[in-house]
Amino acid sequence: MNYFRRIGQLRANPNSSASRNLKQRLGFSFLFVMAILTVTPIFAIVIYILFKGLPAISWTFLTAFPTDGVKAGGIFPAIIGTFYLTIGTAIFSVPLGIGAAIYLSEYAPDSRWTRMIRIAIINLAGIPSVVYGLFGLGIFVIFLRFGTSILAGSLTLSIMTLPVIISTAEEALRAVPQSFRVVSISVGATRWQTIRRIVLPQSLPGIMTGVILGLERAAGETAPILFTAASFFLPRLPNSPLSPTMALPYHLFVISTQVPGMPVKIQYGTALVLIAFVLGMNLIATTIRSRARAHRQW
């Protein structure tokens, strides 16, 4: 009864304090529902995959090669492949990305060229992953003749990961108080000495967080490696950077769309391993970030 009286009140006097408060409470509840709608899928996804994929996980699954086509056995080569690709991506993108971040934070003047660099970075961040795949195919696989290889895949993924690393690294560098740099210069240090001894060490946790988050994305991407590195079934592990490789995301894609009669359990198991890999990296990054914040000396 009370409820209808309040709605009536709202209609009669929409600006009264009571009706505004009611509107607010309804509104907040609505927002709350929306937020739950956003967040619930995460739980649902992780728990569901865990639930359906765990039965497939065994020591064999993680360390053996696929058998019976790919319908049984393990996914070891895919795991190793993703591992290699991630390391390869790190080798190229981390030095380049940190170098670019140092340039933007410590050296770059406020000029048109610097603005163009920033626009370029934003653009790199927005390019569809499949276009990266095309680019990688055109330049690394074909033009530079690397063929379908870990090298081509890593290079492609590196360029894709570059914007993430650059922006988080730059933010970490800028967070270091300017006063440190001034003090360092005032006792006779050069700019590079200041960077090497003070700025870089202090911003390292933030940089590492960004690097790990970037690599986590690279590990989960399929489109860039579709034409540049990935192969569906290889009887042996890749023995050089110029060999093609299997990879977890690509493997999951194929077994869920192109293998008739594929046991569902293995599909979920593969998805679980991939998610565990990605979320594990996420966890490491977040831990580094919060521990660094606690131990900061400024």
């Binding site: 108080p177 006063s179 440190f180 001034v182 003090v183 360092s184 210069i185 005032s186 006792v187 006779g188 240090a189 050069t190 000495q193 001894r197 003070i198 202090q202 900061r296 000396q297 400024w298």
Partner: protein, 251 residues
């Protein structure tokens, strides 16, 4: 003996703030020269010319000569890092580097190439004694410098500038954040230091200026109004503007 000679110094920043106009002055060796005046007068800018720290800022125009021991330090060809080791600076708010107390002090030596442990240790003790901090921290040299109190941090910054055996020490309102006791300790230390060093100080109050100055220079809106021996300037200044400021009629 004259340590620094400033001749027709002009300085302008791109944003037009804190300029200096045609400054001519002498800084005597082994004395405390105080540069005082209201905000925006150019005092900090002047100090930063002496160690070329304003190279970091947006300087539109700088002309004139600043001669330290027969060398014009404004000459683009000189080795700026060597200059900064010769001319040390202490800032208004104590800025300790995010390292241990000891590392804060050895930083300046390490970047100039000094690696010998013995030299570093000796320098740490010497500079801490000079800035009257040795007794308080000698047992915790490896603790983070941020664990010190404000006054201690400022004296640490003073010690840091002494480690490199400079000839000139610049201090820009070094006691502005400190309590009276710490302020007194710093001022006493400066009196002892002046026997070996040339000190240029921007005070944070006229009273401090009067307490410590051997020579005082009054700056107003980028111009040097007058300069004279401390005892005389504060009792009987020549220029009315100086007198008005000292009396607190403006500022």
């Amino acid at each position: 003996m004259i340590k620094i000679q400033v001749e027709h110094l002009n300085l302008q920043y791109s944003d037009g703030k804190e300029s200096l106009r045609d400054i001519n002055m002498d800084i005597a060796a082994n004395q405390i020269t105080v540069v005082f005046g209201p905000a925006g007068g150019g005092k900090s800018s002047l100090l930063r010319v002496f160690n070329r720290l304003n190279d970091l800022a947006d300087v539109k125009l700088i002309s004139g000569k600043v001669i330290l021991d027969d060398i014009d330090i404004l000459d683009p060809r000189i080795d700026v890092t060597a200059l900064r080791r010769k001319v040390g600076m202490v800032f208004a708010r104590p800025v300790v580097l995010p390292m241990s107390i000891r590392s804060n002090l050895t930083y300046g030596l390490e970047i100039s190439g000094e690696k010998r442990e013995s030299e570093l240790t000796e320098a740490v003790e010497r500079s801490l004694r000079l800035s009257a901090l040795w007794e308080e921290v000698k047992d915790r040299l490896n603790e983070p410098a941020v664990s010190l109190s404000g006054g201690q941090q400022q004296r640490l910054c003073l010690a840091r500038s002494l480690v490199l055996k400079p000839e000139v020490i610049l201090l820009d309102e070094p006691t502005s954040g400190l309590d009276p006791i710490s302020t007194g300790k710093v001022e006493a230390t400066l009196q002892e230091l002046k026997e070996q060093y040339t000190i240029v100080l921007v005070p944070h109050s006229v009273q401090q200026a009067a307490r410590v100055a051997d020579s005082a220079a009054f700056f107003l809106q980028g111009e040097l109004i007058e300069q004279g021996p401390g005892k005389e300037l504060f009792i009987k200044p020549n220029d009315k503007r100086t007198e008005d400021y000292i009396m607190g009629r403006f500022g």
